[in-house]
């Protein structure tokens, strides 16, 4: 009897793990396959390049949000940060590079400070990052009040790089997913990170400094936010203080699509990157279906709901009497 129960539990756990990547995989196929069927001509080097181009900044912002969400925090300022970084890249780096670089390091320092303060004062990240969002937007407007600027050649060049055989965006996203997977599941930092989301007390009592960990995690959020801003500036070749405002919510949605949870602890590197790709490709699919761009954001909403609905029905064990 005992043995049977144990077996059942094991099989459940295994199923759970497979599903972590299965759902994001299914959701991207739902979007991607129709694109290929509708427009077979995109199946070439340039076509894939264009399809997945914008997935790069979205994926990087999603990874930033993922770091926060894995330890059950959230960053509601990430979109504002990404916008600010496009302004720094397009406006400060060409004219006053030293100030620009200092500012970028400053951003990471501020993020680490936010992480420390959240821990020391036991505050909610949701509120503190709302405050930060105003500060990032203020700085962005100060640097570049209107869209414009002149993004340096090395950033634009990097985003338009022509890699052999596999287009750069796919190459990049693949490497990103692998590196992230190694960081999350093969390094001690990753184990601590996931542990903090799962059981903070356990990690604390095993002698790790919560302060340092929290600072490190928020440093990563800032770093990936900056990378996302660079990628976006490289693709759009413009600095715009409002360009990425909706990234905050898109990133949260992508993390959840990718199998992450608000409770923290659960995460999948491949899932997160796939989630970001799904969110990016929805718009393309609708264009190919000749549906007005007005419906794009609504369709993103419906896809998120559909995927999560299926997911919750699969996970649901027994009757839920209240939420």
């Amino acid at each position: 009897m005992e043995n049977k129960l144990g077996e059942k539990r094991m099989s459940l756990r295994r199923k759970g793990r497979a599903r972590d990547v299965l759902m994001p995989l299914m959701s991207i196929l739902i979007v991607f396959v129709p694109i290929l069927v509708l427009r077979p001509r995109v199946i070439n080097y340039t076509g894939f390049n264009l399809l997945f181009n914008m997935a790069i900044p979205v994926a990087l912002a999603t990874i930033a949000q993922m770091f926060a969400m894995t330890i059950s925090e959230i960053d509601l300022s990430i979109g504002n940060l990404v916008s600010l970084v496009t302004c720094i890249a397009g406006s400060l780096l060409p004219t006053r590079p030293l100030l620009g670089i200092l500012l970028l390091f400053g951003i990471i320092a501020v993020y680490m400070l936010v992480g420390a303060v959240l821990y020391l004062r036991n505050l909610q990240s949701i509120v503190v990052t709302i405050g930060m969002s105003f500060i990032w937007t203020g700085l962005a407007i100060m640097i570049q009040p209107h869209p414009g600027g002149n993004v340096p050649e090395f950033i634009v060049g990097a985003m338009n790089m022509r890699t052999p055989v596999v287009p750069m965006p796919i190459f990049f996203l693949l490497i990103l997913a692998i590196l992230l997977h190694v960081l999350l599941f093969k390094s001690s930092f990753g184990i601590l990170l996931r542990g903090m989301g799962g059981n903070r007390k356990a990690i604390e009592q095993s002698g790790h400094s919560m302060l340092k960990l929290q600072m490190a995690v928020f440093g990563m959020v800032g770093l990936f936010g900056i990378l996302s801003g660079f990628a976006l500036a490289g693709i759009t070749t413009s600095a715009d203080p409002n360009i990425a405002r909706n990234y905050t919510l898109i990133a949260v949605a992508s993390v959840v699509l990718g199998g992450g949870s608000f409770a923290g602890g659960t995460v999948s590197a491949v899932g997160v990157v796939l989630g970001a790709c799904t969110m990016t490709l929805v718009g393309t699919l609708l264009t190919f279906l000749r549906i007005s761009p007005d419906w794009q954001i609504g369709a993103q909403g419906i896809i998120i709901l559909a995927v999560l609905f299926i997911n919750s029905q699969l996970k649901k064990s027994g009757k839920v009497r209240y939420v």
Partner: protein, 324 residues
């Protein structure tokens, strides 16, 4: 006995006691910023009146957001901005610029808001989607509805409503009086009714509340619907106040609705709410912006100062989140 205890307190103790009142921070801020305004402005009361008019809308959305947040960790309504836009556009369309349509228009706005709120709850309850994502996804859909139905055009309000929302009684904007009335109503709802007590219990411990017989599902349905209703009312009044409904009219309310609730002393962890603080926090945020305007600060510095004030008050008031 308690009287002497109060009388014997040292100033330091009294100050500590004052600081422990969470909503005291926002009102202290209002007084300080008002004194600063008085130093630079010839007519500080006019500045205050202008701030109060705009702050009324923050209070309105804040009341709904507060009820949602009261339900405990994870409960939040991100659909407020586009609910405002949808309800405002819908109401203006129904009114059609005619004074005779005002009543039906207001009803239409409230109906649109409550429909979005109830839909949010359905997603949370039956699709088991976390509130943050459920309200976010539904706001995407609501935004699309607003675009498709109203083509993002400016729809003008009827003259009668436009005049009404700009009325001042003894220098005090009528909008603010209306909002005070609603705030009192929400305060009574929270402290005196089974519904209010219920959601506070849910916020403190959902399982315990459920075991104690609190109707968790119906309480949450009412909460999310009310949040939609408040957003709907905001949409109607804001459209009338600013000369018409536009698609982006609710954008600034996404983060501000949460900010005023928390600055007002409501615990973001839920179960402990504060209505009077929302009013103080809303007036404070607008008064600061107006003060910076008067002394000639640009948009960028206004944003930065607002952010610093939000972070500063959170740090100073520093109520913990009480992790379980």
């Amino acid at each position: 006995m308690s009287d002497t205890a109060v009388n014997n307190r040292t100033p330091v103790e009294l100050l500590k006691n004052f600081i422990s009142i969470r909503w005291a921070w926002s009102y202290t801020g209002v007084v300080i910023v008002f004194l600063m305004v008085a130093m630079v402005s010839r007519n500080p009361f006019q500045t205050l009146a202008a701030s109060i008019s705009f702050a009324s809308f923050f209070v309105l959305v804040g009341l709904g957001q507060m009820l949602v947040i009261t339900n405990g960790p994870g409960n939040i309504d991100l659909s407020i901005p586009y609910t405002i836009a949808l309800a405002g556009s819908f109401a203006m369309k129904v009114m059609g610029g005619m004074d005779s349509g005002i009543f039906m228009g207001i009803l239409a706005g409230i109906a649109a808001g409550s429909a979005v709120g109830a839909f949010n709850f359905m997603l949370i309850r039956f699709a088991l989607i976390p509130p943050m994502i459920a309200t976010l996804a539904s706001s995407f859909i609501v935004r699309t509805l607003a675009i498709v139905f109203f083509r993002g055009m400016l729809i003008k309000p009827p003259r009668g409503l436009e005049v009404f929302v700009n009325v001042k009684i003894l220098q005090v904007p009528i909008l603010f009086l209306l909002v005070i009335l609603l705030s009192v109503a929400v305060h009574l709802l929270l402290s005196r009714t089974a519904y209010g007590r219920g959601i506070q219990a849910i916020g403190q411990n959902t399982k315990a509340a459920w075991l104690a017989g609190v109707k968790v599902n119906s309480r949450k349905l009412i909460t999310y619907t009310l949040s939609g209703v408040f957003a709907g009312i905001t949409g109607v009044l804001l459209a009338a106040f600013s000369g018409g409904a536009t698609l982006g009219m609710g954008d600034e309310y996404l983060l501000n609705s949460i900010a005023v609730v928390v600055l007002g002393g409501t615990s973001i962890a839920g179960g402990d709410s504060n209505v009077q603080g929302i009013i103080g926090a809303s007036v404070l945020l607008y008064l600061i912006v107006n003060f910076l305007n008067i002394i000639g600060f640009g948009a960028s510095l206004r944003y930065i100062v607002t952010g610093v004030v939000i972070v500063g008050i959170i740090l100073a008031a520093g109520h913990g989140k009480g992790r379980k």
